[in-house]
């Protein structure tokens, strides 16, 4: 079982769209995917039509001693994709992690019982670089950072890189261009700079209304716009990621 985390220090860069669409594309290759929504906003939970509610004590019950993830998992309308929903109690995740031994290893320690059930766990992380994020990164094989090609987003990319570099056990660090608007000169220039980096994937997700429609449609883009440019881009992104997860 591999763990892919969609994370960024900056909010609003397309983490959830990446997590949900990559997860949906993976299922088309027969991969059994669990999307774990770690963001208390619960956008991925909403998009996959799951209830924004964690049974059995919320975040405390989720990461506390003796807890199990399996009872929280829910089926989705995408065959092969299951979701571990979030709820608002996850805003206190750091506090609950602080209460357990080895908090940075805690999220990873919850995954082995799911080894037989899933090939891929996609973590949809909240923005920031909190203890919860560090715990998620400890469990991660590949860290995927969506980057909007702007100066500030580039800055946060470097910051996250530093957070990862400071760790002894490091996930593979990869970035991809997100919400690209080719009409903007500054974005085009930034993309040129990004393209020089070895850890930036070739796939660029365009800034299209199709991705925004995920909200009202409550589904991955392929479900309601299978022939769209966005769907093709997410498919390509998944295919670019596959050999990096399983060599």
């Amino acid at each position: 079982m591999k763990v892919l985390a969609a994370a960024s220090i900056k909010g609003g860069v397309g983490k959830t769209a990446t997590a949900v669409n990559v997860a949906a594309e993976a299922t088309r290759d027969g991969v059994r995917v669990l999307l774990w929504d770690l963001d208390p906003q619960g956008s991925a939970t909403y998009l996959l039509r799951a209830e924004h509610h964690l049974t059995g004590g919320g975040a405390r019950g989720l990461v506390g001693a003796g807890s199990e993830l399996a009872p929280h998992v829910r089926a989705t309308s995408v065959p092969g994709l299951h979701v571990l929903p979030s709820d608002l109690s996850l805003r206190y995740l750091d506090r609950h992690l602080d209460d357990v031994d080895r908090p940075r290893r805690r999220l990873g320690a919850l995954l082995p019982p799911l080894e037989d059930a899933y090939d891929l766990v996609v973590l949809d992380c909240p923005p920031g670089a909190s203890l919860g994020i560090e715990s998620a990164l400890r469990a991660t094989d590949v860290l995927l950072v969506p980057v909007v090609p702007t100066t500030l987003a580039m800055l946060t990319l470097t910051q996250l890189e530093e957070v990862v570099a400071a760790r002894r056990r490091r996930p593979r660090f990869l970035a991809h261009v997100s919400m690209l608007d080719r009409r903007k000169k500054l974005q085009r220039e930034t993309v040129t700079t990004l393209a020089e980096r070895e850890d930036v994937l070739a796939t660029m997700i365009p800034n299209t209304t199709v991705v925004e429609r995920m909200g009202p449609e409550r589904a991955p883009v392929r479900t309601f716009a299978p022939r769209s440019v966005a769907t093709a881009a997410y498919e390509q992104l998944w295919h670019e990621l596959t050999p990096m997860l399983w060599r």
Binding site: G30, V31, V73, A75, T76, D116, T242, L245, W246
Partner: protein, 540 residues
């Protein structure tokens, strides 16, 4: 996710569809489904709780599907169907989760088709208001089971087959709907005596049970229950029969070269048999013993070159791992040359084992093993207690090993160490076959101790053989180039080959340097005492 199956031996009656529709499940149109179950010869996937099937379905196309217990299936979509009678190699699958899941248990063993189930499938899913599935049902009818080598729907394989199955798939967080539906179905079908209780599993597992597929696979020959007080001849014959079973079990896989392990296991059976024929002097009848020693020597000779090349080719990546990428690439023609020789060697093995000679030798051997004990000619000591006789052989083998080992010094040749390794093998086969007569725990401890020494001698021998083989192959390639008028082979290949040979020479020297300590540990007073105790208990 769990899957539960109901089945029956009569065609599904109309009410099933009605019951499902009342539960909000409308079955889709019927479609042909073909599923072939695969596992290794020794059931490695089953042993790890995995199941592999190749599935062809009208709406899904072709896919390899892996399931673990009742977990959700993982798929690898294929552009064309697999031939349901042909083996599959995990290493030929593209990198991905399915390949990595299979690679660890199956390793280099071929995945062999065990049975194919054809059915007409109708599926339906109940969904909630948000379109989230609540429960999925598959109704399979017109079931037809075939096993490799039999035509579909013929033979005894299908007599116990079920006529239909209903699979109820339980989805995460949706246990209640699945359980409720199952209860409803069970209740609706309760009047039909041909409907057994619901069982965990699915149609393919039910078919495997019906077709009596041994899902655990080959687990080695059944070890005979030996009595140390019984006549030595009886004990030896029982053990020889178990070796013959191993030989038979691996015969066809070796002839067809399904994977390298068949030949490996067949050769172990041959070597063990040869060893026991040697140890059986004055127990086994003299004429038979002489004849069969010659026969098994022939089996050994016929199969030896192929096994050597299997080891070399399979271990090539490990062998060349100390080299730079550039050197490893430069040596690719060597690997290609060896792989070509390996294929020829296996063709010769197949030819040899298919020959009249092989058939005659095998039949003679089995005929002797199947003779009633009362009709078997006996050696002078055939009636003596097994424990006492084998104990004496173990002590003799141990003595020989210690004498030869103590003679090894700085001036000894590599062949001296090779001879010592043979002494060790002789002792090991005796211990593996009969050591438990003196106590399993004690026997295992002696074998473990001996293995430490054997590993050193084995690594020493392997390094020598590998270096020799490499230099020989480079010389052959040079000759081939000269014959073809292509001049000298690439200098990069020759240089890389010499670098690898030097590494192997150094490895051999390191093992040689380590030998003294390993042997001293084996020749330790306490270790020797353990062997003596074991033999004393065997002979009691």
């Amino acid at each position: 996710m769990a899957s539960v199956v109901l089945d029956g031996r009569r065609e599904p009656s109309g009410p099933i569809v009605g019951v499902l529709e009342a539960e909000g499940i409308v079955l889709g149109p019927p479609e042909m489904l073909r599923r072939t179950r695969y596992d290794t010869f020794d059931g490695r996937l089953h042993g790890k709780g995995l199941r592999l099937e190749a599935r062809t379905r009208d709406t899904e196309g072709h896919a390899l599907v892996v399931t673990a217990g009742n977990g959700p299936p993982a798929r690898l979509f294929l552009s064309a169907p697999l031939v349901p009678t042909e083996p599959l190699a995990v290493t030929t699958l593209p990198p991905g989760p399915l390949r990595s899941r299979l690679l660890s248990p199956a390793a280099d063993r071929a995945l062999l088709p065990q049975l194919t189930l054809r059915s007409v499938r109708r599926s339906g899913t109940a969904v909630d208001a948000d379109g989230i599935p609540l429960v999925t049902v598959h109704l399979d009818s017109d079931l037809e089971i075939s096993r490799p080598g039999t035509r579909p729907g013929t033979g005894a394989d299908t007599t116990d087959a079920v006529a239909w199955t209903i699979e109820v798939e339980e989805l995460p967080g949706r246990h209640k709907p699945a359980r409720a539906l199952l209860q409803t179905l069970t209740g609706a079908l309760d009047t039909d005596p041909a409907t057994p209780a619901a069982v965990e599993g699915d149609a393919l597992e039910r078919a495997a049970l019906a077709a009596q597929v041994d899902r655990r696979g080959w687990r080695g020959p059944v070890r005979p229950d030996l009595d140390r007080h019984a006549a030595a001849l009886l004990g030896l014959r029982a053990v020889l029969r178990s070796f013959a079973d191993a030989l038979d079990a691996n015969w066809d896989g070796t002839v067809d070269h399904l994977d390298d392990e068949f030949l490996h296991d067949l050769r172990i059976a041959v070597r063990q048999t040869r060893s026991l024929l040697v140890e059986g002097r004055r127990i086994l009848p003299k004429d038979m013993r002489a004849r069969q020693r010659e026969a098994f020597r022939w089996f050994g000779t016929v199969t030896s070159p192929a096994r050597d090349l299997d080891v070399y080719v399979a271990g090539w990546r490990t062998l060349t791992s100390p080299l730079s990428d550039e050197d490893a690439r430069a040596l690719e023609p060597v690997l290609a040359h060896l792989a070509g020789k390996q294929a020829s060697a296996h063709a010769q093995v197949a030819q040899g084992l298919r020959s009249r000679t092989a058939r005659q030798l095998r039949e003679d051997w089995r005929a002797w093993l199947d003779l009633p004990d009362a009709e078997v000619a006996r050696g002078k000591h055939a009636h003596k207690p097994l424990g006492e006789m084998i104990g004496a052989r173990i002590m003799a083998a141990q003595h020989q090993l210690l004498v030869d080992g103590r003679r090894i010094d700085a001036g000894s040749l590599a062949t001296d160490l090779h001879e010592l390794r043979k002494d060790g093998k002789r002792l090991r086969y005796l211990l593996e076959g009969f050591g438990h007569l003196g106590g399993r725990k004690r026997s295992r401890a002696v074998i473990r101790h001996l293995k430490d020494l054997q590993d050193n001698l084995g690594a020493h021998q392997d390094a020598e053989v590998q270096a020799d083989r490499l230099r020989q192959t480079l010389a052959e390639l040079t000759d081939v180039s000269a014959e073809e008028g292509a001049g000298e082979p690439a200098p990069a290949m020759l240089a890389a080959g010499e670098r690898l040979a030097s590494i192997l020479d150094r490895r051999q020297a390191a093992e040689r340097a380590d030998f003294h300590d390993r042997f001293a540990a084996y020749d330790d007073k306490r270790a020797r005492r353990t062997v003596e105790d074991l033999v004393a208990r065997m002979s009691r």
